[in-house]
């Protein structure tokens, strides 16, 4: 009998230690953090767009966590913004920090690329804007038809990407998704005391480089 008691208790104790360290302590530490003043909750259209971002798995190729200048200087230089802090994510359920950068970080895509036309066209055909991009195209977020119905918008695409005599009309889902992307602007000031003192993780106040002409 002793064996299985030892086994079960031991396994549960090590497990409990890990839960305390990696789940409960961060919970306690982050619970008190408040959203920075400049950060606004998402609107309902932006939340719908966010849901579409999640449903289509954008976070598997795009992170939302610029690293600090001391740790990875290129992040700020590319216009991805200052290193993020816990407060930036107060309205994020679920979190979308991401773990891959097959494509660029999107934490501040709304600053870097505010153009709705660019975003819509880029979703329809990324290679029309970024040669060599390996992002999938999303034709199912658009209707290709002879002419737009009243009240519908038409996507302005570079020539050669729309079938002859047709127009590309975004679905409401595409419009919401672009609204979400445009809302990703974390260029407001943040208060200094943040729980991240690890070496190479200092927050920086790099000015955001606005580069409306390039998505990288």
């Amino acid at each position: 009998m002793e064996n299985e008691v030892k086994l079960t208790t031991g396994a549960m104790v090590t497990f409990a230690i890990a839960v305390s360290a990696l789940v409960v302590l961060p919970y306690i530490q982050v619970r008190g953090v408040e959203a920075p003043e400049g950060l606004k909750p998402y609107t309902s259209a932006e939340l719908r767009g966010r849901a579409s971002y999640i449903a289509n798995g954008c976070m598997y190729c795009h992170s939302q966590q610029p690293r600090s200048e001391s740790f990875a200087p290129a992040d700020a230089k590319r216009g991805w913004g200052r290193a993020s802090v816990p407060g930036d994510y107060m309205y994020d359920r679920p979190h979308l920090l991401g773990s891959m950068r097959t494509g660029p970080d999107l934490f501040n895509i709304g600053v870097r690329q505010p153009s709705k036309d660019w975003q819509l066209g880029h979703l329809f055909q990324p290679r029309a804007y970024v040669p060599g991009s390996i992002m999938p195209s999303y034709p199912y977020l658009f209707d290709v038809k002879d002419e737009a119905d009243p009240g519908e918008e038409v996507v302005n695409l570079p020539p050669g990407h729309v079938p002859e005599g047709k127009v590309v009309v975004p679905t409401p889902e595409a419009l919401d998704l672009v609204k979400y992307l445009q809302s990703l602007k974390r260029n407001y000031p943040i208060l200094p005391p943040q729980p991240r003192e690890a070496e190479g993780a200092k927050t920086s106040s790099a000015p955001m480089a606005a580069q409306p002409s390039s998505a990288s």
Binding site: P26, I54, N56, S137, A198, S216
Partner: protein, 551 residues
Amino acid sequence: MDSALLSLLAAFLLSILGLFAFIWSLRKGLLVENVKAASAIFVKGEIGQVDDPALRPAAQASLQAAAMEPGDAAHVPDAQEVEERLAADRSSAFPVFMFIAFGCMWLLFGGIAGLTASLKLHWPDWLVSEAWMTFGRMRTMHLTAVLYGWITNVELGIIIWLMPRLLRRPLMGPMWIMLGGALVNTAIASGIGAIGAGWTDGLEYLEMPWQIGIFFAVGMVCIIVPVMYTLINRKVESLYVTTWYHTAGLLWITMLFIVGKLPGVHFGVQQAGMNWWYGHNVLGLWFTPVAVGAIYYFLPKIIARPVRSYNLSILGFWTLAFFYAQVGGHHLVGGPVPGWLVTLSIVQSMMMIIPVLAFTINMALTMKGRMRLALYSPTLRFVMFGGFMYMLSSLQGSFEALRSVQQVAHFTHFTVAHAHLGAYGFVTMVLFGAIYFMMPRILHYEWPFPKLISWHFWLASIGVMIYFVFLTYGGWLQGLAMLDPARPFMDSVAVTLPWLQWRSVGGGLMVASHLIFVGHFLAMVLRFGPNRAGAALFSTQARAMEVVHGE
């Protein structure tokens, strides 16, 4: 609390715990070798009798001849104990078969989904017309199918098969286990469907919506209860190391899943911390312990020699339990999480070298002078390959956790390659070996085409090596390009392209090996091919043969 103080406190507690563990092990005499416990997988007189059910009698005989060592000839396995083992096998045959069959189905599906996702990374305009085909969903269906569908099902099968064998009593409550298996697979199928339809919880490794997750959790509980009940009513005195790993693994995955899925609790960066605590623990506290436990059974069983050191294996268990559970935070290096969390995880990642070395030394000593046996037994080859990849991927993982390495490797395909080395090179290869061993015992039927086992092995191992080597290299280039502010971001995409294509080649070989494997499995189940061992599931003749061969 100040993080410096916190880390000091943690280091202090850790040392105290280590000290107590050391004192306790001295008191218990754990530092004295325990040959009896290491031999628990054999019946009386069985040591020296090789056992690879996937081999034909002639091949088995040549393996036996190669494995002969002085002093072997005199023993005859105890018939009573062999009978008990047959009874144990009979009690678990049906549930185990169910888990393996489900696993094979998901392997086929998951592999093809993975290959499709891989191809899409270099053919970005291929299969884009429907939402369910898009990369983000295809990749996630692949992940759910192979992680939950393939690995989890087959690991459950291995646990259920080995428990009665090692505890020397028939399985209790097999119907509950079947019910649990049905619920788990309902959850997996619905989860994959939900992801395809765009309904997901959006957390890596935890995509399955929590409403569906309830089925998974309830299913796991239905499996755990009879297993624990069998454990309490066992006939053996002390537990073999495999049972330690397997019981703990079952408890861990269930707790992990429930904590990870708690709806409405986690948010923001805390959720990210939880996410990676879960993400790494699925590997560390579920895939790894069950696969390592399986190696500790199958490898010595095939070569008919007990593992060299039972105590080393137990040391490996406890250090894995303690260190592995806390390594998840290294996925957030450079991210907006408390620095102490990342540091803690990096330290524990390095500490993982202890259980890995304990395992490696133990296996190396067990296999010393017996490596050539792999030439005779494809099953052994799978298990040895898996064991070797465990060492490799774990050591790589320990160093990969360091900040200096992460600086480059984080956010790149380097990590993806590492994940596949672990989940495929190590875990999946061990599962293949285990299935080749178990199935003839479950169905009382031989693998109809032994040549296919070799084909499977070479395609899978060469495939995963191509995948790993090329993608690792491409990922590193990607990381260097991304870290260099002077280079445009698109450089980091362009440098990966040839290696992404090589990844598809490796993935193609792996999928081809799955087709062979699942085809072979079906041929066995449907009784195609030459009939050698007698067809009936419970034919007495088939059993008689096993008794003669000392099983």
